[in-house]
Amino acid sequence: MSLAPGSPPAVEAHALVREYKGGIRAVDGLDLQVAAGEIYGFLGPNGAGKTTVVRILTTLLRPTSGDALVGGRSVVRDGDAVRRLIGVALQEAAIDPLMTGRELLRMQGALHGLRSKQARERGQNLLERVGLTEAGDRRVGGYSGGMRRRLDLALALVHRPQVLFLDEPTTGLDPTSRAALWREVRALNDEGTTVFLTTQYLEEAEQLADRVGIIARGRLVVEGSPTALKAQVGPPTIHVELADAEGAQRARSALRGLGALEPAGAGGDIHVQLRTTAGKAAIAPVIRALDEHGVQVESVEVQMPSLDDVFMAVTGATLEGASSNDGSPSSGDHVGEAVPASRAPEATTAR
């Protein structure tokens, strides 16, 4: 979603620094801008500083230096005004297990200035919206992970915030719950809510975000729309796996002219890689050319550039490797190392 002319950014950070004891810089001079009405995906490996940035933007943590504005209000000087504009669903859906969903929504209403009747009605609407009407009078301690996440989202929406911060909202969720939460985030955004989403999941960022910022070691290393960022990395790669190593030379001869051949990798006698802007459309010509040269093929894959490739290109390390979708929460406030490249990017496969 593009920024309407003249409308102020929903979120701005200027030279934001957060230093912990021992001089550890979790955030190191971060500048960013999120347009009103945008879904901004904030990506980074564990310990990159994502959670620290979110805690600063939501007034839970003061920056060591620099400032950030949310809805034009400073998180340092005008925290109270910022808190009236934002909704927050932090990691791990911290919810009191002794209370029912309905009670929590009512309490959240009180915390955000809703009158008792308003809070009751709003709570009912939100329970319906997130599909928890029947579970609304049950204690949260008995909710599943997905239900707790949905309730967490509902709690963040009680006061109709302008800017919604979601810190790794789908960590640990099953695919169905994850898809349901994505639908809800999109719907909220369609209604005008700006969404600042941190995630370790590349797919989540690609599916939801209008723009993505990648943070590493407390610095924003690259920013743009997922499509534009991936386009910067280069064309897709076609990976050909040969039936035997003897055909490698013939395969390289056959494919010359269809794109740029990548140098053969170590021990890669049965693998040939071709970079081509044609992408999937090149599969048929590749197979035809190999067939004409009598090359036995095991498989052909088209690998599209991923956000992990983008991360790799700008940092020399892989983001995906640091977040293997195991459902484990981010370590948050610590400065960490990006993990060296070791895994293949996401692939579209044709066999």
Binding site: T58, L60, D80, R84, A94, H112, G113, G192
Partner: protein, 264 residues
């Protein structure tokens, strides 16, 4: 759905909401109230059984050790109920629940009032249980209604002070592992007072500590209920009230300092 700035929350509504939540700790956890209620009663019975002859000592202001120990047991129950507020807050901090409260546009000090009120409400249960058992065992309410009111007032004030102490530690250490320190603080404050014997019978540094310990005055305030030599009067009430106000101001200041440091 339209989006915009939320209205300003009303402090009263926030306090009531968080007070109700604090009461869940005992209303919704089966048996949660039992240890906090039974412990001071058992303490009262045990101490009375062991030290009942202390009243034979010259200078002991009453001939009933039960009458001497009932107010102490009430205060202990209240103190531990208050300190538990700190453990609950530390748990909320560890689990991220406190963050949810901190991102609400509520003056942060208001967020502490509900849990303190919850503790004060909870402390009435052990205090009443101790009084009831004391009455059954023959303790006399020599101070009448005013004396009982003084006892409840002292218990409530001491509970609030202990809650602030617990909150300060919770905000400082941000872990439930600080729980024993919260309880030990209360224990120590009571132990170093005229909890078990009057000041006249204490010797050495313990006498000095009890003399300057504000809890001694809080105990004197509460003993107007059952100790015949301490009739309800302004002179017997003011030092205790002043001690409670002082404790609450100092510990409240520490709690606010802990709150101020959050996120810095």
């Amino acid at each position: 759905m339209s989006v915009g700035a939320a209205p300003r929350p009303r402090a009263g509504a926030v306090v009531v909401a968080s007070w109700r939540r604090a009461l869940n700790e005992v209303l919704r956890v089966r048996g949660a109230l039992l240890p906090a209620t039974i412990a001071p009663v058992i303490f009262m019975l045990g101490m009375t059984g062991q030290f009942s002859r202390l009243t034979d000592l010259e200078g002991f202001p009453t001939d009933s050790y039960l009458a001497w120990i009932v107010p102490l047991s009430c205060l202990q129950g209240a103190g531990f109920a208050g300190a538990a507020t700190g453990s609950n807050l530390a748990r909320d901090i560890e689990q991220g629940l406190f963050d949810r409260l901190l991102v609400a546009p509520v003056p942060r000090a208001v967020l502490l009032l509900g849990p303190i009120l919850g503790a004060v409400t909870r402390c009435l249960v052990p205090a009443t249980a101790v009084l009831a058992v004391g009455l059954l065992l023959g303790a006399e309410f020599t101070g009448g209604v005013l004396g009982v009111l003084a006892l409840y007032g002292a218990s409530i004030g001491f509970c609030a002070a202990a809650a602030l102490w617990g909150i300060f530690l919770a905000l400082t250490f941000r872990t439930q592992q600080a729980g024993p320190l919260m309880q030990q603080g209360v224990f120590l404050a009571v132990f170093l007072s005229t909890a078990y014997t009057p000041e006249a019978l204490l010797r050495g540094w313990l006498a000095g500590a009890a003399r300057y310990n504000p809890v001694t005055h809080v105990l004197e305030l509460s003993r107007q209920a059952t100790v015949s030599g301490l009739e309800p009067s302004l002179a017997n009430t003011l030092p205790g009230v002043a001690a409670l106000v002082g404790l609450i101001l100092v510990l409240g200041g520490l709690a606010l300092f802990g709150l101020w440091r959050i996120g810095r």
